[in-house]
Symmetry: C2
Subunit: 341 residues, 2 copies
DNA sequence: TATAATTTCGAAAACGTTTCCGTATTTAAA
DNA sequence: TTTAAATACGGAAACGTTTTCGAAATTATA
């Protein structure tokens, strides 16, 4: 491992004290322009790189933000992180990224590890197993900057970024009804999740306002293995109460539905219409038939999370992150899977 | 922000010196079992969390590994990172993740930032623009632990993890030929990339061994926007030299091909057969027709990268990372897109 | 019993920054 | 001309660990 010069050596080379060099590099007003020039040019010549740990130790901040999310293999989360990175990188921040794999125990472990100050803030989307949120409240109670996105904890008084889950789901369901559906299924992740609650509520209200009543056997909760999901959906599709429409509150289950349909002789959209929350637009257009989607503004959500945190972390005397829910609307794109025939 | 006790305060509480407490917590042989118990239990009681920066500064290591890759929105890279995380997490390492967005300037910036020791090692897959590799050689020359995967730099003498690109491409092309294709196109990312070179070579050799000759107009290089790719492929499909088979060396271009085909009346596999390097298996089976794939062992590649680095970083006197290319075979799964008709 | 070895712990240095404090020199104000 | 303020820098402490060195107390050896 190579050394590289440190501040003391750089100072010796310049015949200046370390304090002066440090101040010169940090553009302090106490240093003359002349010596600043000298210091900067020598620093470049010797390729001086400040030690981030010494700096973190002294300043008590790491210039690092942690992202904790349930999975990586999802275009939604990938885009959110891209959005976060876009703004944090401009401010010289680094990103620690963790996947909980939908496992609350892993989530707890990660959060507890992060409590030691390795990161200056956390942006988080909870696992589908997370119902006990004591590890997160503890974090927040300690004054640790924390924002949520998508899968939020409503009870923790901090800033949360979501899409208009209720309205999108309502509109999506309404769209199915307008296209003639009368028995509409709802596919979801764990019922604990904020997003499923909201989307479920939107779905129910849309049914109600159309005079339709929900059918419990048409409400499917996500299992861990894809194959199980496919079979559960297939069974529903072949059951007595078979639906003529599906609202999927999560990308994964829309794909599982297409798999399930492939194993039957059901035709989309003739026998079954489907709309889904979905982020991978390229794929949505490629499915047969192409899928009507509710697209969440993933990149923007990431950007907004990051902006909020950067402001909190870089401005001098910022108040706590306000207890508010910021909603960025989704966009419904109608494709073939919901065309009335 | 909350404090939490530090070592000195913990020591004061125990009426011991900081050095003793430190040694007790690190299970040093110099400390009696009795005081170890006391220290550990008090540490738990006060929820003592060692400051990672003080530790990093003192020990000159960060327990952090950086991952630098060209994009996040790819199931291949997502799976690789999952694999890396799987083993690093077990050893208490953290992951800094960076996306270059296929931009070599961003890649350089990131690599230069990492030179200051924020991470103990880097696992890297270069951008498609990367031809000048001086930023990477400099890193390696300084003795910085560095491994490559997938898109490697052959000229940097360190460990690289790839799949059997040449053979897979050869076999994939051969498969098309066996299914009756005679004019086979090749879709690729930048020609600079190790993977395209190898896969292209496999493709060419397969053509040659079948007595076929390559047609330059059937070799398409990836552009930045998806739409451009789709149009380029569509133009090729409608040109005079239209192919009856396609080998796509990258997932993105297989999807672009399906988009392009949708805009013509060409039928897969009747008029055109296609095979592609592809990681998103669920999607591959859902495309119409389902796509014959060459699946890289993404998760394993990630695991192996991490294992190699962990060994280097945790064992006491390890030699430099050996200059070798480790290949983990891909798996070809034949689906409908290459069925002879 | 005297000496050597072992066990168990403490004091202090070190890691590389930033910043508080002090001070010499120069410039402005009285 | 005398005093006050501004400018430009150095010395040293501090951040929270780990570890080197040393030493006291205990145990084993001669």
């Amino acid at each position: 491992m190579s050394a590289g010069v440190n501040l003391k050596e750089l100072a010796a080379e310049l015949k200046l004290s370390p304090s002066t060099v440090s101040r010169a590099l940090n553009d302090s007003y106490e240093i003359s322009e002349e010596t600043k020039k000298k210091v900067v040019s020598m620093a470049e010549k010797l390729n001086y790189q400040p030690n981030p740990f010494a700096r973190s130790l002294r300043e008590n901040k790491s210039k690092t933000i942690a992202v904790v999310m349930p999975e990586r293999m999802s275009s939604f989360f990938a885009k959110v992180i891209d959005g976060i990175e876009e703004v944090t990188q401009q401010h010289g921040y680094h990103l620690l990224v963790y996947s909980t794999h939908e496992d609350v125990e892993r989530e707890k472990k990660i959060v507890n590890l992060l409590m030691n100050g390795r990161a200056d803030a956390i942006v988080m989307s909870v696992s589908s197993q997370t119902s006990d949120i004591s590890h997160l409240t503890r974090l927040h109670d300690r004054g640790f900057p924390l924002v949520f996105f998508d899968r939020i904890c409503p009870d923790i008084p901090t800033t949360k970024f979501i899409t208009n889950d209720y309205e999108s789901s309502f509109e999506g369901t309404k769209h199915l009804i307008q296209q003639g559906c009368r028995k509409i299924a709802f596919l979801m992740l764990s019922k604990e999740l904020s997003i499923t609650k909201e989307r479920y509520r939107g779905y129910l209200d849309a049914l109600k306002s159309a005079g339709l009543s929900p059918e419990p056997s048409l409400h499917i909760t996500c299992a861990h293995e894809e194959e199980k999901n496919i079979e559960a959906i297939r069974n529903m599709l072949l059951s007595k109460e078979r639906p003529d429409g599906i609202v999927s509150s999560v990308e994964k289950l829309a794909l599982a539905t297409y798999h399930a349909v492939k194993r039957t002789d059901i035709k989309i959209p003739e026998d079954l219409k489907i709309i889904s929350f979905f982020s991978n637009l390229s794929i949505a257009g490629l499915l047969t038939p192409s899928l009507t989607t509710i697209t969440q503004p993933a990149f923007s959500i990431g950007e907004e999370c990051a902006k909020m945190l950067i402001k909190k972390l870089t401005k001098p005397r910022q108040p706590d992150l306000p207890n508010q829910v910021i909603s960025i609307p989704s966009k419904i794109t109608i494709r073939s899977s919901t065309i009335a025939v």
